[in-house]
């Protein structure tokens, strides 16, 4: 036996009724034991579900997979758009013969610029963000834990293929917390780990090659800043704001130019 008002009571509980109906339903529930019990049940179940049900989150590996799929999709779209633009761009017949050669070459050149510049760095950006996300998983962040650059720096000598700039900027809010070696760009790259407020900043470094790098990139909400110092390429990755990330990069590049005047 169910009270005919049960669905309205449920709608009231779910916040789906206006103030007038709400007052009406409250009056009804005062006199209806069944609906009062229903309201109690609904509340207990909601509380239990929201607190007891395992709160799942998308695994980092899935995020990485999706980012890669979206990258592929984005570059495919760019190529398609350029082709479509060429096909639908109708020049008057008189000019067609004279211009076609130039037009096609121009489009081809644009395609090369559009496609290849981002493509060259895309896998690297994915690798960097993937490595950053892995580092945030328990027990993956730090191989050598130290706030002392004289401990971290020599550790890299035996565990990585490069020897990057290591410094502590605790006074400026960027605390050195340790170092790690990650495999990146076909070498054992050195990662210096900083803490800034509640955020982790990974500073990756590897022997520079002839790959041209963007100045900055954003993936999945993570910001990346690239720079080159001496014969090393650096990339700082974090979910901090641009300004905070730029702050650390500024400190590192200032120190670099003081230590190794070009």
């Amino acid at each position: 036996m169910q009270c005919p008002e049960a669905l309205r009571v449920q709608a009231y509980f779910d916040g789906e009724v206006d103030a007038v109906s709400a007052a009406d339903i409250e009056r009804h529930a005062e006199g209806c034991a069944e609906c009062r019990a229903l309201l109690g049940d609904l509340e207990r179940m909601r509380t239990a579900l929201r607190s007891e049900l395992t709160h799942l989150r998308a695994p980092p590996a899935l995020r990485t997979r999706i980012t890669a799929a979206l990258n592929e999709e984005s570059s495919a779209r760019t190529a398609q758009r350029s082709t479509t633009a060429r096909n639908t761009w109708r020049t008057p017949p008189f000019w067609a013969g004279a211009m076609s050669g130039i037009g096609v070459s121009a489009v081809a050149a644009a395609l090369v610029l559009l496609l290849f510049a981002p493509l060259l760095s895309k896998p690297l950006i994915d690798d960097l963000v993937g490595a950053h996300m892995r580092s945030l998983m328990p027990a993956h962040l730090i191989d050598v834990e130290s706030t002392d650059k004289h401990t971290v720096k020599p550790w890299f000598a035996s565990h990585a293929d490069v020897s990057p700039l290591v410094a502590d900027f605790a006074a400026q809010g960027y605390r050195l917390i340790g170092g790690r070696a990650d495999y990146l760009e076909h070498q054992r790259s050195a990662v210096v780990v900083y803490q800034h407020g509640g955020h982790v900043i990974n500073v990756f470094s590897w022997a520079a090659n002839d790959r041209s790098l963007p100045k900055s990139a954003t993936r999945d909400g993570y910001h990346l800043l690239f720079w080159r110092a001496g014969d090393l390429d650096y990339c700082a990755v974090s979910d901090t704001g641009w300004d905070e990330l730029q702050g650390l990069v500024q400190l590192l590049t200032n120190l670099g130019s003081r230590d190794h005047p070009e």
């Binding site: 049960a6 669905l7 449920q10 709608a11 779910d14 916040g15 789906e16 049940d41 609904l42 207990r44 179940m45 909601r46 239990a48 579900l49 929201r50 007891e52 049900l53 395992t54 709160h55 799942l56 989150r57 998308a58 695994p59 980092p60 899935l62 995020r63 997979r65 999706i66 799929a69 979206l70 999709e73 984005s74 760019t78 990139a217 954003t218 993936r219 999945d220 909400g221």
Partner: protein, 181 residues
């Protein structure tokens, strides 16, 4: 990065966890859920221009649901859902540190599993409206959009889902009287 990708990352990607949760509650295995979510995100990106001012979360969840049922089609449909597994990324793990003693932490984990099991034992139709309402906080109109049902059907299905869950919960409590809340 082109503008569309940037807007997509800002508006749609924040709902990736919600998409994953729904897929996990609808899929037969974590791997199926991964595939459904990836396919859904790709479709969402392709159709992103069609999203005009409407709610990105409900829109994405509708696509996830479609991808999940596509994945299920052709397979034998069983009222079986894999429970969250050890090693799944779980939010709020830092709270473990404040749990007073290991014994009560173990009991608490056991209770969590109880609810996972109860929800998993519901039919797919009941489970999906319940999860959308109680976990993802979707209103009736949004649930109607996601499940492609009239609002009246959403209301009655939600009511049946809740009474089915209540019945299972009571059974559970009778089997384990000491676990009375």
């Amino acid at each position: 990065m082109d503008d569309k990708r940037g807007r997509f990352e800002a508006q749609v990607l924040p709902h990736l966890d919600a998409a994953y949760r729904l897929a996990r509650w609808l899929a037969r295995s974590p791997a199926d859920a991964d595939d459904a979510v990836q396919e859904a995100l790709l479709r969402a990106f392709r159709g992103f221009d069609a999203l005009r001012g409407s709610d990105a979360k409900a829109w994405l969840l509708a696509i996830v649901r479609n991808c999940s049922s596509t994945a299920r089609r052709g397979e034998q449909r069983r009222a079986f859902v894999p429970l969250p597994e050890e090693g799944d990324a779980v939010a709020g793990e830092t709270m473990i540190a404040t749990t007073p003693d290991p014994e009560s932490a173990a009991v608490h984990r056991d209770d969590e599993r109880t609810f996972d099991r109860l929800v998993a034992s519901l039919s797919t139709e009941h489970r999906e409206v319940l999860v959308l309402r109680e976990i993802e906080d979707m209103d009736y109109r949004e649930i109607a959009t996601i499940t492609n049902l009239p609002i009246g059907t959403v209301m009655s299905r939600l009511a049946r889902a809740r009474s089915a869950l209540k019945a299972r919960w009571l059974q559970e409590l009778e089997a384990k009287p000491h676990a009375m809340p």
